[in-house]
C-alpha cells in the first residue's frame, strides 16, 4: 500500500472513531470508538515513521497502544460503576449533571 493510501486509511479510522464517539449510545460502543480513534492515530504515526524513517514516531505509537490499554481499563471500571449505581448504559441517559 502506498503512503497516501495508508494515510487515508488512518484518517478514515480516525473519522469513524470520532463519528462513533459522537453518535453511539451505548458506553461500551463509545469505548470501542475511542479505541478506533487511537488506532487511527497509531496507524498515522507508523505511516509517518515508515515514510520519513522517523523512529520517534514509531516508538510513540507503541506508547500510544500502552496508554490506550490503560485508559480503556480505567474507562471500563468507571462504566461498571456507572451501571451499578444508575443502571443505565446509554450515554445520553446520563444527564444528571448539566448547566
Amino acid at each position: 500500500m502506498s503512503f497516501r493510501a495508508l494515510l487515508f486509511l488512518s484518517a478514515w479510522m480516525f473519522a469513524t472513531g470520532i463519528f462513533g464517539v459522537l453518535s453511539r449510545r451505548h458506553v461500551v460502543a463509545l469505548l470501542l470508538s475511542i479505541e478506533l480513534l487511537f488506532n487511527g492515530v497509531n496507524l498515522a504515526l507508523l505511516t509517518f515513521a515508515w515514510a520519513y524513517g522517523a523512529l520517534s514516531a514509531a516508538s510513540l505509537a507503541f506508547l500510544g497502544i500502552a496508554v490506550t490499554v490503560a485508559e480503556v481499563a480505567v474507562g471500563l471500571a468507571i462504566f461498571l460503576l456507572v451501571v451499578r449505581l444508575t443502571g443505565k448504559a446509554a450515554a445520553d441517559e446520563l444527564k444528571q449533571l448539566a448547566g
Partner: protein
C-alpha cells in the same frame, strides 16, 4: 467712626447667642429681650454715628477670597452719608418693630418666640450689612441673606400651608431677579476685574457697564417688587404683621431702591437703563395702586401700596434724582411701618385680615385709629406730613417725562382713595361682625407706633438733612444735581388729587353717597382683572409648571426609564446570554464532546493559515 461696628455687630451678637444657645432661644421672653437689647444698642450707636458723622467717606476692607489673576475679592464697610442715614432708619424701625412684636406675638409659645427673634436679629444684621457694604459682591451676600430671612419670617407660621407657599413664592421670585444680579456682577467682574463701589464709580460709560448695571437692576426689581416681579409681595403678607412692617415695607423691599441710589454715580452713565427704570417704576406704581382698589385684605392693601410707593422711588431713580428717591425711602419707611403696625394692631384685635369683616373700630381702638390715620395721611401726601414732601419731590423730578409723570399723578389719586377706603372700612361705620369684641392693643404695641407716627409726621422736615447727607456719599460729588426748572403747579395738583381721592373714598365708604358695590358690578370685567392681579401670577404659575415641572417630569422619566433603562437592559441581556450559553450544557456527554471537535476544527482552520 468706630461706632458703626456696634451698629452692625450688636444684632449679630444677639443672633449668634440665640442660635448657639438653645436654652436661651427656647426661653421666649429672655430671648426677645436679648434681641431687643441688641437692636437698642444698634440704634443708639446709629444715632451716635449720625451725630458724629464728619461728612467724609470712611472705608475698611479685607481680602475675603484671594485671587492672583484677578484682583482679590474683598469685604469691607463703607461709612458715608447714605449708609449712616440708612442705618439709622433700619435700626430705628427694627427697634420699634421688635418692641411691638413683644405684644403682637405674646400668644406664641416660648420656643417659637425665640425663633422669631433669632430670625429678626439675623435680619437686622444682614440689612445693616447691606447698608454698610462697600462692594457689589458684599451687597449681593447680604442681599441674599435678607432674602433668606424674609423667607424664614414669611414662613414663620410654617404650619399654615398658605404661609409656607408664600415663603417659597417670595424666595423664588426674588431669586429670579438675583439671577440677573449675579450675571451683572459677573459681567462687571469679567470686564473690569473689580466690584468695589469706589472703582466702579470711576468708570467711563461702556457697554459692559450698561449690561452689568442692567443685571443689578433686575436684582433690584425682584427685591423691590417692580413689575413684573412684584407678585410675591402681596402673598408675603402671610407672615406675622410686624415682619411685614419691617421687612416688606420699610427695609428689605427698599433695599433695591437703596442699591440703585448707592450705584447712582455709575448709573448716571447709562441713560438708557435709567429710562427703563423710570418707566418700570411708573408702571409699577400705577398697576399696584389699581390692584389695591379691589383688595379686601387690609395687609394686602398695604402691600400693594408698598409696591406702588417702591415704583415711585424707582421712578425717581430713573429720573436721575437719587435724592428724591432716597428721601421717599426715608419717609416711607416710617409711615408704612406705622401703617403696618397699626393694621397689625387691628388684626391682633379682630383675628382677621378682611376689612369687610371689620368696621366701627374707631371707638374701641381710638389710639390705633389715630395712628393709622397719621400714616394714611402721610401716605396720601397730605401736608405737613412727611409723605407730602417726598412724593412732591419725586413728582417734580419726573415731570420731564410726560407719560410716567401722568401715571404717577393718577397714582396719587388712587393712593389716597384706597388708603382711605381701607381707613373708612376699618374704623368707621357699624361693626360688621357682631361676635368680635375688639379692644385696644397693649401699651407695648402702642408706643412703638407712637414713635413711628411722630417720625412719619415730621420726617418731611428733614429733607434738607437727608439731601445734605446724601451729598456726602461715595461718588455723589460727581453727580450733577438735577435742579431744573419745574412747573410750580405740580405740588398743588398732587395735593388736589390726593384730597380728591380721600373725598371719593369718604363718599363711597363712609357716607355711602354712592355704592361701591354697584361700581364694582358695573365694571365687573375690569374689577375681575384687578382682583386677579392682571393674571400676572398665573403667567408665572404657568411658567413654573411648564418651565420646571413639565421638564422635570420628562427628564425624570427619561432618566429613570430610558437612560437607566438601557443600563438595565444591558445587564439583563448579559444574564440572558449567560443563561442561553447554559443550554449547550445539556448534560449529554456526546453533545458536549462535540465541543472538542468544533475546537479542533477551529484550530485546524487556523493551522491551514486562514
Amino acid at each position: 467712626m468706630k461706632a458703626f461696628y456696634l451698629v452692625l455687630f450688636a444684632p449679630f451678637v444677639s443672633f449668634a447667642l440665640l442660635a448657639l444657645w438653645p436654652g436661651l432661644r427656647r426661653s421666649g421672653k429672655p430671648a426677645a429681650w436679648t434681641s431687643i437689647a441688641a437692636v437698642a444698642v444698634s440704634l443708639l450707636s446709629a444715632i451716635a454715628l449720625f451725630f458724629q458723622y464728619d461728612g467724609g467717606v470712611h472705608e475698611v476692607r479685607w481680602v475675603w477670597i484671594p485671587l492672583a489673576h484677578f484682583p482679590s475679592l474683598t469685604v469691607g464697610f463703607l461709612v458715608d452719608g447714605l449708609s449712616v442715614v440708612m442705618a439709622l432708619v433700619v435700626a430705628l424701625v427694627a427697634f420699634a418693630v421688635q418692641v411691638y412684636s413683644l405684644g403682637y406675638m405674646s400668644e406664641e409659645p416660648p420656643a417659637s418666640l425665640g425663633r422669631y427673634y433669632t430670625y429678626h436679629s439675623l435680619f437686622t444684621f444682614s440689612m445693616l450689612g447691606l447698608v454698610f457694604a462697600n462692594n457689589l459682591l458684599e451687597a449681593y451676600i447680604f442681599w441674599e441673606l435678607v432674602g433668606a430671612c424674609s423667607y424664614l419670617l414669611i414662613g414663620f407660621w410654617f404650619y399654615k400651608p398658605s404661609a409656607a407657599r408664600a415663603a417659597l413664592k417670595a424666595f423664588w421670585t426674588t431669586r429670579l431677579g438675583d439671577v440677573g444680579f449675579a450675571l451683572g456682577i459677573a459681567v462687571l467682574f469679567a470686564h473690569f476685574g473689580f466690584l468695589s463701589y469706589d472703582k466702579l464709580f470711576a468708570l467711563e460709560p461702556s457697554h459692559a457697564l450698561f449690561l452689568g448695571l442692567l443685571g443689578v437692576y433686575v436684582g433690584a426689581m425682584g427685591k423691590s417688587a417692580q413689575f413684573p416681579l412684584h407678585i410675591w409681595l402681596p402673598d408675603a403678607m402671610e407672615g406675622p404683621t410686624p415682619v411685614s412692617a419691617l421687612i416688606h415695607a420699610a427695609t428689605m423691599v427698599a433695599a433695591g431702591v437703596f442699591l440703585m441710589v448707592r450705584l447712582m454715580p455709575a448709573l448716571q452713565h447709562t441713560p438708557e437703563l435709567l429710562h427703563l427704570v423710570l418707566w418700570i417704576g411708573a408702571i409699577t406704581a400705577f398697576l399696584a395702586a389699581t390692584m389695591a382698589l379691589v383688595e379686601r385684605d387690609i395687609k394686602r392693601v398695604l402691600a400693594f401700596s408698598t409696591i406702588s410707593q417702591l415704583g415711585y422711588m424707582m421712578a425717581a431713580v430713573g429720573a436721575l434724582s437719587a435724592g428724591a428717591a432716597f428721601f421717599h425711602l426715608f419717609t416711607h419707611a416710617f409711615f408704612k411701618a406705622l401703617l403696618f403696625l397699626a393694621a397689625g394692631s387691628v388684626i391682633h384685635a379682630m383675628h382677621t385680615n378682611d376689612m369687610f369683616a371689620m368696621g366701627g373700630l374707631a371707638r374701641p381702638m381710638r389710639w390705633t385709629m389715630i395712628l393709622f390715620l397719621v400714616g394714611a395721611l402721610a401716605l396720601a401726601g397730605m401736608p405737613p406730613l412727611s409723605g407730602y414732601f417726598s412724593k412732591d419731590e419725586i413728582l417734580v423730578a419726573t415731570a420731564h417725562a410726560p407719560v410716567p409723570f401722568a401715571l404717577l399723578m393718577i397714582t396719587v389719586f388712587l393712593t389716597a382713595f384706597y388708603m382711605f377706603r381701607a381707613f373708612f372700612l376699618t374704623f368707621t361705620g357699624e361693626p360688621r361682625n357682631p361676635e368680635s369684641h375688639p379692644h385696644e392693643s397693649p401699651v407695648v404695641m402702642l408706643w412703638p407706633m407712637g414713635v413711628l407716627a411722630i417720625l412719619a409726621a415730621v420726617a418731611g422736615f428733614f429733607g434738607s438733612t437727608v439731601h445734605e447727607m446724601l451729598n456726602h456719599s461715595l461718588g455723589f460729588e460727581s453727580l450733577h444735581s438735577g435742579e431744573e426748572h419745574h412747573p410750580a403747579w405740580i405740588p398743588y395738583l398732587g395735593l388736589g388729587l390726593g384730597l380728591l381721592g380721600i373725598l371719593v373714598a369718604w363718599m363711597g365708604y363712609a357716607r355711602r353717597i354712592f355704592r361701591p358695590e354697584r361700581v364694582y358690578a358695573a365694571f365687573y370685567p375690569l374689577a375681575k382683572v384687578l382682583e386677579e392681579r392682571y393674571f400676572i401670577d398665573h403667567i408665572f404659575l404657568l411658567l413654573y409648571w411648564l418651565g420646571y415641572n413639565t421638564v422635570a417630569t420628562v427628564v425624570g422619566f427619561v432618566d429613570r426609564y430610558i437612560v437607566d433603562g438601557v443600563v438595565n437592559f444591558v445587564t439583563w441581556a448579559t444574564f440572558e446570554v449567560g443563561k442561553a450559553l447554559r443550554r449547550f450544557h445539556n448534560g449529554v456527554v456526546q453533545d458536549i464532546l462535540l465541543g472538542v471537535v468544533v475546537g479542533f476544527l477551529i484550530l485546524a482552520f487556523f493551522a491551514t493559515g486562514f
